[in-house]
């Protein structure tokens, strides 16, 4: 029995976390990413691999519903916690392993879930009528913008229709990325996400580290030279080029590869334009058209390459925009 309890103790020294992030709650998210990175914890890709559901920022009703669904999908033992601001993050997380260890099974009844029907069909690009899956991308996916849900219709892994839903925008939502330092950090955050989706995790982590240094008031020149090195490696990688070139070219913004290069170049030059590119509402408007006919992995790359900060949409009336 001692062996078993030792095993259970060791099991939860490094929990995996699944995050539900409210738009604009970027401060606590960054604090949390930093904590997990420094302590060797991981962010889970899926509910099946998560020990804890972490709600970050103030969740409105739709986001709370999302958290409810996910909470019931986490295998046990599981812990749920919510983080309001960056101050208490380290403390709350440090208590997590102990909370997981002291978890005891309760006699909760088996969950009742509604049974969905079989898929229905829709016309296809090749002139056939084929089964369609309606799949929500977001709000809880790795490297996904907070508060965005892109509902797509897929035939196979090709997207045939997409519509945007926004979650978590309330009257109190404020954009986080304001001011010069944060604007620069924002570029690195976006680069980290795009590189993460592209599967270059080491480089993605590097961007996060530099982002956190910048925000912590790191000396500009050091970060700038580091970013410059990173930018050159990113630009020269043929594999990444093959992955990103030609994706979602937009007037004035270039394709996904150019956007990534530009973000990094801006930080390296330490000259981030405060108003970068078109407002997020405009990008969300074109998003369904841009992803039409794309394969799922391409859709993920396109979304990450647009650096969508939903918190910039401050009127909650936008909550239901959708496009055909």
């Amino acid at each position: 029995m001692d062996l078993i309890s030792a095993l259970r103790r060791a099991a939860f020294t490094r929990p995996n976390l699944l995050l539900v992030v409210a738009p604009g709650a970027t401060g606590p998210r960054l604090a949390m990413e930093r904590f997990t990175r420094e302590h060797g914890w991981s962010l889970a890709d899926t509910a099946a691999d998560a020990d804890a559901l972490v709600e970050i920022g103030e969740l409105d009703e739709p986001l709370t519903a999302v958290a409810e669904v996910l909470w019931r999908q986490l295998p046990r033992p599981a812990v749920r916690l919510s983080l309001g601001d960056e101050v208490g993050v380290g403390e709350a997380l440090a208590r997590l392993p102990e909370r997981l260890r002291s978890w005891r099974p309760t006699d909760e009844p088996s969950e009742e879930w509604p049974e969905p029907p079989m898929a229905d069909r829709a016309p296809d690009r090749d002139g056939l009528r084929l089964d369609v899956l309606r799949v929500p991308l977001g709000p809880v996916l790795p490297y996904w913008p907070a508060g965005l849900r892109l509902v797509v219709d897929m035939q196979g892994d090709v997207v045939q229709f997409a519509e945007v839903e926004l979650l978590g925008v309330t009257g109190r939502t404020r954009p986080y990325w304001t001011g010069e330092t944060r604007s620069a950090a924002r570029r690195l955050d976006a680069a980290a996400r795009l590189l993460g989706v592209a599967g270059w995790t080491a480089m993605s982590t590097r961007c996060q580290i530099l982002r956190d240094r910048l925000l912590a008031g790191g000396t500009g020149t050091f970060v700038a030279t580091e970013v410059d090195r990173l930018a050159r490696r990113v630009r020269r990688s043929p594999l990444l080029g093959a992955m990103l070139r030609g994706l979602a070219p937009l007037p004035g913004l270039g394709d996904a590869h150019e956007r990534l290069s530009n973000w990094l170049a801006e930080v390296a030059r330490a000259s981030t334009a405060d108003e970068a590119g078109p407002p997020v509402a405009e990008l969300l408007n074109v998003l369904p058209d841009v992803v039409f006919g794309a394969e799922l992995s391409v859709v993920r790359l396109i979304v990450a390459s647009l650096d969508l900060d939903i918190a910039e949409i401050t009127e909650p009336s936008h909550g239901g925009i959708s496009h055909g």
Partner: protein
């Protein structure tokens, strides 16, 4: 002794999983039961020391059944068998025909007076096979090569709608959200 036991166990498993192909509702299960049947047959070949043919059967059949599963699931209704449905049409007729064929083939295999082996067991059957392909069966191989080329070209011609003219030859984008209503009635027209 052990050879005989292994032979019979594999034989029974091969036939049993072959029958099971027709007893399941799910296309995925049916396809991979068929693969299981082929793998047991490959096992038979290995028991008979036909090393190359045995390994080759695994090699070919696995890839082919995986591809077959792709096609079965792409085109057949209800591929996971989640809704009860009848897989076989004209059940009685099919049963009679398949049993008759099975009996006929088995009878033929048992009744035909197979010739005694004249030559000694080859030390390396693979080597022998290579010699055959490269020497007196060369013509066969060349014909197969041209046949495969024809297959590639014909299959591509039949299967691609767009061809080299790219997007211009492709059917245009379907009307947005034609299924916003379709989602409510989930029994399709031809179910």
């Amino acid at each position: 002794m052990w050879e005989v036991i292994a032979f019979w166990v594999l034989a029974v498993l091969a036939v049993a999983s072959g029958i099971a192909v027709f007893r399941v509702d799910s296309m995925a299960r049916a396809t991979f039961l068929l693969l299981a049947s082929f793998l047991f047959v490959a096992g038979e070949m290995l028991v008979l020391e036909l090393h190359y043919l045995g390994a080759l059967t695994v090699l070919m059949m696995t890839a082919e059944m995986a591809i077959m599963a792709v096609f079965m699931i792409m085109f057949m209704m209800n591929p996971a068998g989640l809704e009860p449905m009848e897989m076989v049409h004209n059940k009685r007729g099919a049963l009679v025909i398949s049993v008759a064929v099975f009996v006929a083939l088995t009878a033929a295999a048992l009744v035909v007076p197979w010739p005694e082996r004249a030559a000694p067991h080859p030390s390396d059957a693979t080597h022998q096979l290579g010699e055959a392909i490269m020497r007196d069966k060369m013509l066969v191989m060349m014909v197969v090569g041209v046949g495969l080329f024809a297959t590639m070209v014909a299959a591509t011609l039949l299967a691609t709608a767009r061809g080299r003219y790219g997007e211009h030859a492709a059917p245009s984008r379907p009307e947005p959200s034609p299924h916003a209503h379709a989602h409510h009635h989930h029994a399709g027209g031809d179910r």
